[in-house]
């Protein structure tokens, strides 16, 4: 028998070399880099708002109400004389928290449920299918508002409401991916090796099925910020005087003609953050797309 000769590939892909290769590829994607930059900055603002905000976001100053943007108050002041710039920055904490907390539980529940029904199929899958149909035919916002209406307004209830509806989308995606991965020979090999179902599902299939879910998660975080701000605007999410972009826009809406900056600036913050998450989502989809 001839000894097997070493591989001819110049850099043999071990796990660490594969991550290095991905990182190098990521650095060549400008969209992804811009997205990462925006979200990194947003995260910094969210973690240390006190460090970046020049004023106390809740300090009322009746002597300086609805001032236009100026050097000490770059975004002007609101109807109670609070510094609009500081309030937009403090809102980063709340809105970035929304992006994570409104999606991460849905992600986990959806991934687990989707993986299980996708692997086992059967009756549970049929019931799941009908449930998905029912949820998907109804508009997301209306469903969430209905749940909030039952639970009562507030941030925590909003997270619960979004999670109750949102996991279905993750589960649907995960199920489809698991079904397709399950037909592969390595899944069959796992069964033949006598591995437990849980090991096959979570150790073998899941890492190969998770990519589209992660990509969707990024987009969903952008949507979560939009949804959270919408609910805040409608008075169903964050409650004043807490600084939250939706609340800020709602507070400014009566003065749109005279103090337009009060609503415009938080609006720009929403768009920019959402844009950042979307860029990351697109970039990741591009980067992790299976290649021949």
């Amino acid at each position: 028998m001839t000894p097997a000769s070493p591989v001819s590939a110049p850099v043999p892909p071990t796990r660490s070399s594969r991550s290095r290769e991905l990182l190098r590829a990521a650095l060549t994607k400008p969209g992804l880099m811009v997205g990462v930059g925006i979200i990194a900055l947003s995260t910094l603002l969210a973690l240390f708002p006190g460090f970046f905000a020049p004023h106390d976001p809740n300090a009322i100053n009746v002597a300086a109400m609805r001032q236009p943007p100026s050097l000490p108050h770059p975004f002007g002041t609101d109807m109670l004389g609070r510094d609009a710039f500081s309030r937009v920055i403090w809102a980063y904490s709340v809105n970035m928290q929304m992006a994570v907390l409104a999606t991460v539980f849905a992600l986990v529940i959806g991934v687990v449920v989707g993986a299980l029904v996708g692997y086992y199929r059967g009756l549970a899958d049929i019931i799941f299918g009908r449930f998905v149909d029912a949820i998907i035919t109804l508009p997301f916002l209306v469903l969430v508002i209905a749940v909030v209406a039952v639970l009562g307004p507030g941030l925590v209830n909003m997270y619960i409401a979004i999670t109750l509806v949102g996991w279905v989308y993750y589960a649907r995606l995960m199920r489809a991916e698991i079904i397709s991965q399950k037909t592969s020979d390595y899944a069959a090999a796992g069964i033949v090796m006598g591995y437990s179902d849980l090991r096959i599902i979570f150790r073998h299939l899941l890492p190969n099925a998770i990519t589209p879910v992660i990509v969707y998660w990024m987009t969903d975080m952008a949507l979560a910020i939009l949804l959270g701000s919408s609910l805040g605007y409608l008075g169903l999410g964050a409650q004043p005087p807490q600084a939250e972009w939706g609340v800020l826009i709602a507070e400014g809406r009566n003065f749109v003609t005279t103090a337009w900056w009060l609503s415009l600036m938080p609006g720009i913050a929403i768009v920019l953050t959402g844009f950042g998450f979307s860029l990351i989502g697109d970039g990741l989809a591009d980067l992790l797309r299976p290649r021949g």
């Binding site: 028998m1 001839t2 000894p3 097997a4 070493p6 591989v7 590939a9 043999p12 892909p13 071990t14 796990r15 594969r18 592969s184 020979d185 390595y186 069959a188 090999a189 796992g190 069964i191 033949v192 090796m193 006598g194 591995y195 437990s196 090991r199 150790r203 073998h204 890492p207 190969n208």
Partner: protein, 333 residues
């Protein structure tokens, strides 16, 4: 070499075909793909049994039934006398340890996100083959056994050629110290020179580890070379089985004869002396009655469409399922 380790009796498997709305409205009967129509086979210790047949004949389904990837709808498989589909045996994972399978596609049979070392270590750990501390050493031994370099353990499947991946798949199967290896078109996707390397490896491992091998393939030359005995399958039924050299030199069943003569010989002088087979393999949705081969058979008689021929022993020690064995034998004399 005579005691059977695995006995398959009258194995049947049919899949129902999903019905369309039109079928439901028309009240069309439920249609079935009849993949296996009564396969009886015994695998003897230490032998290599080749299984040949055209695509769709059920040879892969048979392999998948033996490792319980598919559940038969009739018949039984006994491993050391135990019915592997009996309710109390069904979930016994120790069986999986003793009967292992290798797959055709070297690009999809390994988890792309696990390194070779992790793939092998997992098998060792789950089945507690050796103490945790000995796992790295055992992984190195397994790599050596299939003649892969030591540094292969750190690499992802992506880094290997098709032949090397099949070596990893063989190492994974051997990790759990099986008695029986099922090789489903193990070398079909590989280049000729790589096929030879893997075939040598299998022969070598079989001798060293006293393995029993079921070698499913469509490459007749390879099957002939590697097998002690060969079974020819047509539409889910064994039509002929026997000692490999005897069967290849002197096939009896008209289908075996046509199949073997269709394989292109490497000798240009043998051009043109092929027995031509009429038509194509009928759909397994619609297996002809009687002898399933009668619609393409040059020796067909009215009896062939009416009565299923049983496997009858031949003078040469094999067995064939044909009503006209004697006439065909006489005709050749």
């Amino acid at each position: 070499m005579s005691d059977p380790v695995l006995e398959i009796r009258d194995l049947r498997l049919s899949f129902p075909v999903a019905r369309s709305l039109v079928d439901l409205i028309r009240r069309a009967p439920v249609r079935q793909v009849n993949a296996l129509n009564g396969v009886t086979l015994a695998l003897r210790r230490g032998e290599t049994l080749g299984v040949v047949g055209e695509s769709g004949c059920g040879k892969s389904t048979l392999a998948r039934c033996i490792v319980r990837l598919n559940a038969p709808t009739g018949g039984s498989i006994h491993f050391h006398g135990q019915d592997i589909f009996a309710p109390d045996q069904r979930h016994d994972r120790r069986f999986n340890r003793r009967v292992q399978m290798m797959f055709q596609d070297p690009y999809s049979s390994l988890n792309p996100r696990m390194t070779t070392g992790e793939i092998l270590a997992e098998a060792l750990r789950v089945h507690r083959i050796c103490p945790a501390g000995d796992i790295p050493a055992r992984v190195a031994e397994l790599l050596d056994l299939v003649r892969l370099p030591k540094d292969a353990a750190q690499k992802l499947p992506h880094a290997f050629s098709g032949g090397q991946r099949q070596r990893i798949a063989i190492a994974r199967a051997l990790a759990v110290e099986p008695e029986i290896l099922i090789a489903d078109e193990l070398v079909s996707a590989l280049d000729v020179s790589v096929q030879a390397q893997i075939v040598n490896l299998l022969l070598d491992l079989q001798a060293r580890l006293d393995l029993t091998i079921l070698f499913v393939a469509h490459d007749l030359r390879l099957v002939r070379h590697i097998s002690h005995r060969v079974a020819v399958i047509y539409l889910g039924r064994i039509v002929e089985i026997g000692d490999s050299e005897t069967l290849f030199k002197d096939p009896v069943h008209p289908y075996s004869r046509a199949l073997l003569s269709a394989a292109p010989s490497l000798d240009p002088a043998e051009r043109g002396n092929r027995t031509h087979l009429e038509g194509e393999l009928p759909s397994p949705l619609d297996v002809p009655g009687g002898c399933a081969f009668h619609v393409r058979c040059p020796h067909r008689s009215p009896r062939c469409s009416a009565e299923v021929p049983a496997l009858r022993p031949l003078a040469t020690g094999g067995a064939a399922a044909c009503h006209h064995i004697e006439e065909i034998a006489n005709e050749r004399l």
